[in-house]
């Protein structure tokens, strides 16, 4: 039986973790920790899960403990945000390089300096080349479902890579919304137990993990990581179809909204995609649409190219910067279109850094500019004082 509840995005992610009932959760218990771990530790305290909760002294140690647990064969999870992800950086790469399917909820928040605790995507976008699968959630419901999906995807024998599930800091993590929670029995059945291919605690099959690999093998290991990332595409689709039998929802790489008839399109991720949908409904113009990217790593080049190649103009809205280079989503969309049969005009917009509000009026203005094909070959910034 599914239940309809009112909860924050952070509680939704923690509820997914409760149903997953991981063997180990290692997390840093104070700022910049997220309410995901705060809520999950209540479940631990109340005996609703039998997870071993390890409260560590830093985020670096949080990921290290997850690496140890996952290498031992456990299902290990954690959550972090902003400076926390930055501090665990070194070990984030160890997790993927060691092919450990750790799942981490990231509540997207700005990086210092200046000191800022609010939403942008600088933290996880900065980690985009660390060989973690990345899923971005529009709302609390998606944060809940993506967390469940990510565990099965990460642990798939052909994938064996860690996964980040992101949601927007404060906007989603602290905002109360409607969430449908599915039957724990069904979720448990969907996930099953983790079956590691190799585990340190498997004394019948002793292995070494994380050894020195110099010029002789390191390169092969990295190539295998990329192969696994490529395989993750189909596994994501297949796993999504299976989860869909419980939830009734679709899990594409992207979500198209009003896109068939559209000639002018906004591409974005996370909660702002919802705001764009609302503006599309209000503007009531069949020529405008949205392409929401759900999976950023691996990046769905083919789907993005196929869905955008016949459009007239596309605005890509990034909530993070790549200083002196194309913003993360914009750069990927541009790459995707290089081999396409035709190219729409593209406009890069940066918005919402450090939690700067994005209003419906801002989105309307972007659509108005697109409709006039008012495009320039440089970044535009929404709501920035000159």
């Amino acid at each position: 039986m599914s239940k309809k509840k009112a909860m924050t995005g952070a509680e939704a992610a923690a509820t997914a973790m409760k149903q997953i009932n991981p063997d180990v959760v290692a997390a840093y218990p104070i700022t910049p920790q997220t309410p995901v771990v705060m809520k999950f530790s209540e479940f631990v305290n109340d005996g609703e899960v039998d997870t071993e909760m390890i409260r560590v002294e830093s985020e670096h140690s949080a990921m290290s403990a997850c690496v140890g647990a996952s290498a031992a064969g456990a299902r290990a999870m954690t959550a972090t945000a902003s400076a926390g992800l930055a501090l665990m950086w070194e070990v984030v790469g160890v997790a993927s390089g060691s092919r450990l399917p750790i799942v981490m909820n990231v509540v997207n928040r700005a990086l210092s300096a200046p000191i800022n605790i609010h939403c942008d995507h600088s933290d996880s976008m900065g980690a985009r080349d660390l060989s973690w699968i990345q899923l971005y959630s529009e709302d609390a419901q998606e944060a809940y479902e993506n967390t469940i999906l990510a565990v099965k995807l990460a642990e798939h024998p052909e994938v064996q890579l860690p996964a980040m599930v992101s949601q927007d800091g404060f906007i989603t993590s602290h905002g109360v919304q409607n969430v449908t929670v599915y039957s724990t029995d069904k979720i448990k059945k969907f996930l099953g137990e983790r079956k590691p291919i190799k585990a340190l605690l498997d004394v019948d099959d002793p292995v070494t993990m994380g050894p020195l690999q110099l010029q002789d093998y390191y390169f092969e290991t990295k190539k295998q990581q990329d192969n696994a990332m490529e395989k993750a595409r189909q596994v994501y689709i297949d796993t999504g179809k299976e989860l869909s039998k419980i939830t009734g929802n679709d899990y594409g790489f992207v979500e198209a909204y009003n896109l068939d008839s559209a000639e002018y399109v906004i591409v974005t991720i996370s909660s702002t995609a919802g705001t764009v949908k609302s503006v599309i409904d209000k503007m009531d113009n069949p020529k405008i649409g949205l392409l929401k990217i759900r999976m950023f790593r691996p990046f769905p080049y083919e789907e993005v190219a196929r869905l955008l190649e016949d459009k007239k103009a596309v605005a890509i809205l990034d909530r993070s910067e790549s200083f002196g280079a194309d913003a993360p989503i914009y750069g990927e969309v541009k790459n995707a279109l290089y081999n396409a049969k035709s190219h729409p005009k593209l406009q890069s917009y940066i918005f919402g850094l450090g939690g700067r509000d994005i209003y419906e009026k801002d989105i309307e203005n972007v659509f108005e500019s697109l409709l006039k094909e008012d495009i320039e070959d440089k970044k535009r910034y929404i709501g920035v004082r000159e």
Binding site: I171, H174, V176, Q177, T275, Y359
Partner: protein, 184 residues
């Protein structure tokens, strides 16, 4: 979709009021959102919290710019900070105040529908504490009919009983009902 903005001071429970309203509406089958204004959180500083209630899925995550309803928990805001910003012309403002609606209209310059209720007085006499946030919801429900008053009562009992005990919870429920009856 109905959009509500609640003005309070950090620590006065504007966020709790916004959440309670949303949760009670959710129990009645509504689509909801509630969120505080995410500024620096300081006890005593003016802050805002928001609730959206709709029959259809709420897609937007943009800030509320033109609320249908404004709830003012702290009476000292009237005449001092702009509580009417962006409010719809046919919007409703409900203020915790001993003053008459006309007086509040005069001080705020808002010409729409204004109601007042002495929620602080009611809260103090019922619970002994100046906690007008949840009682204000009684007044809001009376004026707007958004949800039945029983929904808030049920939620308060569920959320408060374990925390503050049965006696104080009952006092809070009485305060809600008094604010419901006494709103001007």
């Amino acid at each position: 979709m109905i959009e509500i903005r609640i003005h309070g001071r950090g620590g006065q429970g504007a966020k709790t009021a916004a959440n309670f309203l949303a949760m009670a509406a959710m129990e009645k089958g509504k689509q909801i959102q509630s969120f505080p204004e995410y500024g620096p959180e300081r006890a005593g500083a003016p802050m805002k919290a928001y609730t959206r209630i709709s029959d259809k899925k709420i897609k937007t995550y943009a800030p509320v710019v033109s609320p249908d309803i404004v709830l003012v928990i702290d009476p000292t805001f009237i005449g001092n900070i702009n509580v009417t910003e962006g409010i719809k012309q046919d919007g409703i403002m409900i203020v915790n105040s001993r003053e008459t609606p006309d007086k509040v209209k005069e001080k705020t310059g808002f010409s729409g529908e204004v109601h007042t209720v002495d929620a602080s007085g009611i809260a103090i006499s019922a619970t002994g504490l100046n906690k007008p946030n949840v009682p204000m919801l009684g007044a809001l429900i009376k004026i707007t009919d958004l949800i039945p008053v029983e929904s808030i009562e049920k939620l308060v009992r569920k959320k408060f009983t374990e925390k503050i005990g049965e006696e104080k919870t009952q006092a809070t429920v009485e305060a809600i009902n008094r604010a419901y009856k006494e709103v001007n």
